[in-house]
């Protein structure tokens, strides 16, 4: 039943995307800088193709920021039947759905396994907090449903941004991580890091997860023992070798190291301040040049630094850690877009069992809706009508960031609260029988 539902939903989603592709909506979306950033724009990819055709290095100018391998692989898009590129992105979307489905079922199995292993430690009163096989059977179709109706993923596919490709890479990393396939997992992690750099932080949950899988008894886990460290080193070196290999291949293909500055340098030094949904552009347009380097470092640090405390907190829950890090990346990366939101929102239902602890659902949904509706309007008022100014648009991008952070903290809280419930029982009562109010401090 659930499988049939997922198929039905998936078909509907594809149909919806194909129909929308036929309208002039994609053309409009391609001009929206909430959806398309300099690093994900298909127009720029085409620019790269034509530069390459003229035997000019695509990296010599300031237009092209994809990696050398992507430049060669994305050419495949033209060989797809019916409209080539459009079909390519729909196929990417279909693949995304297939792997979402697989992730959901693999994740469900993993949850049940972990739960069975740890059940002895749980409080007996936490029975209703445990996930059941029946609940999990609905998970794949829920994920598909969310992906199908998620406005962010619809927009990302329609605008034909390459972030849908890099999202797929990250999803594959996640999938093979759950499956426990070390080689494939590190391969895709290397690929997605190669593509957008920020997935680098995901090496932490990946290493933790493989170590956790390798040891049999859950109780004797120590994540800082010599055994653990050697496991981490093996995983990271696998990743580094693959990543180095990719860079090496790129060098061989390009014949120079120019591409490094045009891709990673472009991501790290943020020279393009086109307005987007992130926090960088407004801040750095106002910046005096001699402070720039310092603040670029400070801002970029945000994307990486939180990995450490989160890794300490969620050492035993690497899958959640992985999700949380994906989420953080999309808030703090230098050229964020709706494409990043598409990824984490599609995966959000994985934590459905903790949703009963979410507290600001209406507000967050409202904020996201406001951002979707208001950002094109305010952009119009600023750029075209001239009646508003940059602050209007900045306000809405700030709202977007705030909404993301709220959702992030809310989810974090919900997860911790759920875990607390597992060990301490669901219904915690004061001695006088009234319910205890649990406050996070």
């Amino acid at each position: 039943m659930a499988v049939l539902g997922a198929y039905f939903l998936g078909t509907f989603g594809i149909f919806l995307r194909i129909v929308l592709m036929k309208t002039n909506f994609p053309k409009w979306l391609q001009s929206r800088n909430e959806v398309v950033t300099p690093v994900t724009s298909w127009e720029r990819v085409e620019e790269g193709f034509s530069l390459q055709k003229q035997f000019i290095s695509p990296y010599s100018g300031d237009m092209f920021h994809e990696t050398p391998l992507a430049l060669r692989c994305l050419k495949l898009a033209y060989y797809f039947p019916f409209d080539g590129v459009k079909t390519f992105f729909i196929v990417i979307d279909i693949l995304t759905m297939i792997f979402l489905y697989r992730i959901a079922s693999a994740f469900g199995d993993q949850m049940l396994k972990e739960q069975a292993a740890e059940k002895s430690e749980y409080s007996p009163k936490a029975e209703s907090l445990l996930v059941t096989a029946k609940q999990l059977s609905m998970l794949p179709s829920t994920l598909i449903a969310v992906h199908v109706f998620n406005p962010f993923s619809i927009m990302t596919t329609l605008a034909m941004t390459t972030s849908s490709v890099s999202n797929l890479m990250t999803l594959l990393t996640f999938y093979y991580l759950i499956k426990g396939n070390k080689l494939m997992c590190t391969l895709f992690l290397a690929l997605s890091t190669y593509q957008t750099l920020y997935p680098l932080v995901l090496i932490v949950p990946v290493a933790l997860h493989f170590y956790r899988n390798s040891i049999s008894s859950t109780s004797a886990q120590s994540f800082v023992s010599g055994e653990a460290v050697s496991s981490y080193i093996i995983t990271s070196s696998m990743f580094l070798i693959l990543f180095g290999f990719l860079i090496g291949v790129s060098y061989v293909l390009e014949g120079s190291w120019d591409f490094l500055f045009s891709t990673y340098g472009f991501i790290l030094t943020v020279p393009d301040l086109t307005p987007n949904t992130g926090i960088f552009w407004y801040f750095f347009t106002e910046m005096f040049d001699h402070f720039r380097t310092f603040f670029v470092c400070v801002f970029q640090m945000n994307a990486f630094i939180y990995t450490i405390p989160l890794a300490v907190k969620f050492t035993k829950r690497p899958l959640f850690l992985m999700y949380v890090l994906m989420f953080l990346t999309s808030i703090f990366k230098s050229y964020p877009s709706y494409g990043d939101a598409a990824l984490y929102i599609s995966l959000l239902p994985l934590w459905k069992h903790t949703f009963c602890y979410l507290r600001n659902t209406l507000m967050i949904v409202g904020m996201f809706m406001c951002c979707i509706v208001l950002s094109p309007i305010l952009y119009h008022l600023w750029i075209f009508a001239g009646s508003a100014n940059a602050n209007f648009y900045f306000a809405i991008t700030l709202t977007y960031s705030t909404a993301q952070i709220l959702l992030f903290t809310d989810l974090l809280f919900a997860y911790i609260r759920w875990e607390y419930g597992l060990y301490n029982g669901k219904d915690i009562r004061n001695p006088d029988g009234s319910k205890t109010l649990i406050i996070l401090e």
Binding site: L362, C370, V373, L381, A385, G386, S387, K426, K435, L437
Partner: protein
């Protein structure tokens, strides 16, 4: 952000909301509406002032001769020229006169392909004439435009613009001799009013339009900083009427409006906004606070909002604004028995305006872009009206939030969580609640018994048994939150689909249907009406589908809360672009949509439906038509005229959407209509 993390504070806020939400919404609506309307009261708004120093209005000595004889000569010649063929505009005459003056003069041809094949010829050709006076001191990087629409004498519906043409010629002759121009001056004469202006602007900026096909311009200048549109008849005028509402409710920078008003006053010409005369007392803040003054100011403000709400340009200036060019129209009105301003005075006004604009160092960016004017020299800025509008919109949002809490709270409580529920926070209320629980628990068991018997009862219902449930009455229909969400999705989707149909309908119908022998106006109106009536019965159709029970089986609270949130979102985002449209929609829709709820009483249900139909987009259109034809002899005439007007209105709305890319039609059909349809489903739901 305390209330986001601190349970206690949250609790307090939520209890407050839950307990007083009716009062709060009523209060916020009334205060909002009252506050908004009170803004026209003189002590509550501000006097206009110049924000842009560079304008230096009226500082320069006029260099025109006392009587501008060339203007009177040109006027006489033009009158004779126009009388030779009253159906034609004097393109050739204007072209040759400007050439005689030695200015670069060009014509631009354009053709209009009417959408819907609404004119039998389908393609209508037009011709713009324009002439560029090059500034001596700069390299044509900036320009000012003086535009005059061309209207043949036979066109009695609109006032003639012959005076404007004569004046433009005379001024061109004078301006040409002056050394001080730092911006080019373009004299533009447009065919078919706005359409010609649109074609010229498209040609100037090399943008494409699907329906107005404009030829490229032969001569051009730099970025256009400002434009003045003159609509002056051949006779001497009695007062000037300033028109400023542009496409999609855009307004020119307030500094430009101030400039025009100030220079008219300097020449002792009477200047009005929407033909509303005003007392001098209101302008100067001494004693403008009488009730009579307030009434006057309020009606001026509402008139301005009325025009702005339509989203249609009220003159050529409206299209310049689309291209980020500040512009106003100055219309000369002939009215017997009042003081006259002759063409010499008018010339001085225009000269003053252009010399002020000539001083500008940068684009208009100071002063206000979002404002309402209760008089020519008082203004209400965005900061003053937004809070009141916000309060009006908040009325709906409060209800939406409370309904959301009501739907989401119960399942949470069943799981025994101290989530959004506030009750756990204080022990005193806790005890009361426990008592309440006991009293309700028996009824509660019955409810659960019923749900268990029904075939659809799922696992989630069983969970209810163990849980301690507090707010009971609606609990029967309330199942798991997700299931509810799924149940309202069809309604939302159908509403969206119908909205899309209403948006695309007229075009699709005209394309598919064979040509009937009816006019396009009728065609559009009837197709809209057909879609509207079809939409009216959609809850009934959806009922039939849910085979067993004869009611729309969904959680009305959730539906209403979603619809209210969407409505608030739509109205507030609209308010940023077109505050007037947003204000009128909010004032009319919010009270009805907030109050609507399912009920068993047949009479009340019908009353609700009637109220909803009354605020539906279709009847709003009819209302607008009737109001705009108000002074009529008999009620019957009023209705027929109103109907004709609204037909015209809908037609023009659709045309503007196609020709000028106006949004009003889209907003009404694709945004307001679907939201309204969601509310329309609510009275159809059985209240049990």
């Amino acid at each position: 952000m305390g209330f986001l993390t601190d349970e206690k504070q949250r609790g307090r806020l939520i209890t407050l909301l839950e307990r007083h939400h009716h009062k709060l919404s009523l209060l916020s609506y009334i205060i909002g509406l009252g506050g908004f309307l009170a803004l026209a009261y003189q002590p509550l708004n501000a006097s206009t002032y110049f924000s842009e120093n560079a304008l230096l209005p009226g500082l320069v000595e006029t260099e025109l001769p006392r009587t501008l004889d060339s203007a009177t000569v040109y006027r006489k010649e033009l009158e004779e020229e126009m009388k030779t063929d009253t159906k034609l505009s004097p393109h050739k005459w204007i072209y040759s006169k400007f050439r005689e003056l030695g200015l670069e003069t060009f014509t631009q041809n354009f053709s209009v392909v009417y959408p819907f094949k609404s004119v039998s010829a389908r393609v209508v050709a037009g011709e713009n004439v324009y002439s560029i006076l090059r500034a001596r001191r700069t390299a044509s990087t900036e320009a000012l435009v003086l535009s005059v629409p061309l209207r043949p004498l036979a066109n009695k519906a609109k006032t003639g613009t012959g005076g404007g043409i004569a004046l433009a010629l005379a001024l061109a002759k004078e301006f040409k001799q002056k050394p001080y121009w730092s911006k080019d001056i373009i004299f533009l004469f447009t065919d078919f009013d706005e359409i010609g202006a649109m074609a010229w602007l498209d040609g100037y900026h090399q943008t494409d339009s699907q329906y107005i096909i404009a030829n490229d311009l032969e001569g051009r200048s730099g970025a256009i900083i400002a434009a003045i549109n003159l609509e002056l008849p051949l006779e001497n005028v009695n007062y000037f009427n300033v028109k400023l509402e542009g496409l999609n409710g855009q307004l020119p920078n307030l500094d430009l409006v101030n400039l025009v008003v100030k220079l008219c006053r300097r020449e002792r010409a009477q200047v009005m906004l929407h033909h509303m005369s005003e007392d001098r007392g209101y302008i100067h803040s001494e004693h403008g606070d009488t009730f009579k003054d307030y009434k006057q100011a309020l009606s001026t403000m509402l008139k301005m909002m009325w025009y702005q709400a339509s989203g249609a340009p009220s003159g050529n200036h409206g299209l310049f604004q689309k291209f980020h060019i500040e512009s106003v129209s100055l219309e000369g009105v002939v009215k017997k028995g009042q003081r006259q301003s002759d063409i010499h005075a008018t010339a001085k006004i225009i000269e003053g305006i252009f010399r002020s604009l000539n001083n500008l160092l940068e684009r208009f960016h100071q002063s206000f872009f979002f404002y309402l004017l209760p008089s020519t020299s008082r203004y209400v800025s965005i900061g003053m009206y937004m809070p009141w509008f916000g309060l009006m919109a908040l009325a709906g949002l409060i209800q939406g939030i409370v309904l959301w809490l009501a739907t989401s709270e119960d399942p949470n409580k069943q799981e025994g969580e101290p989530l959004a529920s506030s009750k756990e926070t204080s022990d005193a209320t806790m005890e009361n609640k426990d008592k309440l629980d006991e009293s309700i628990s028996e009824r509660e068991k019955d409810n659960n018994a019923i749900t268990r018997e029904s075939p659809g009862a799922s696992e989630d219902d069983k969970v209810q048994d163990s849980g301690d449930i507090k707010d009971i009455p609606e609990d029967q229909e309330e199942k798991n939150g997700k299931k509810d969400l799924v149940s309202i999705v069809p309604v939302i989707l159908v509403a969206m689909l119908l909205g899309w149909m209403a948006h695309q309908g007229p075009e699709l119908l005209t394309r598919i249907m064979p040509r009937f022998r009816i006019q396009t106006e009728d065609m559009i109106l009837y197709s809209m009406l057909a879609i509207f009536t079809a939409a009216l019965v959609y809850p009934k159709l959806m009922k039939k589908k849910a085979s067993e029970s004869n009611i729309l089986n969904l959680n009305w609270k959730l539906l209403k809360s979603v619809a209210l949130v969407l409505q608030t979102l739509a109205l507030t985002s609209l308010s940023l672009m077109n505050i007037s449209l947003a204000f009128f929609l909010t004032a009319l829709m919010v009270p009805v949509t907030t109050l609507v709820r399912p009920c068993n009483n047949r009479f009340l249900r019908l009353l609700q439906m009637a109220a909803l139909v009354l605020v539906s987009p279709m009847s709003l259109m009819l209302m607008v038509g009737i109001i705009s034809s108000v002074p009529q002899d008999s009620p019957l005439e009023l209705i027929t005229q109103g109907f004709a007007n609204s037909k015209e209105l809908i037609f023009l709305g659709v045309m503007d959407a196609h020709l000028f890319n106006a949004w009003t039609e889209t907003v009404i059909t694709a945004v307001v209509f679907p939201v309204w349809l969601m509310f329309w489903a609510i009275p159809w739901i059985d209240s049990n």
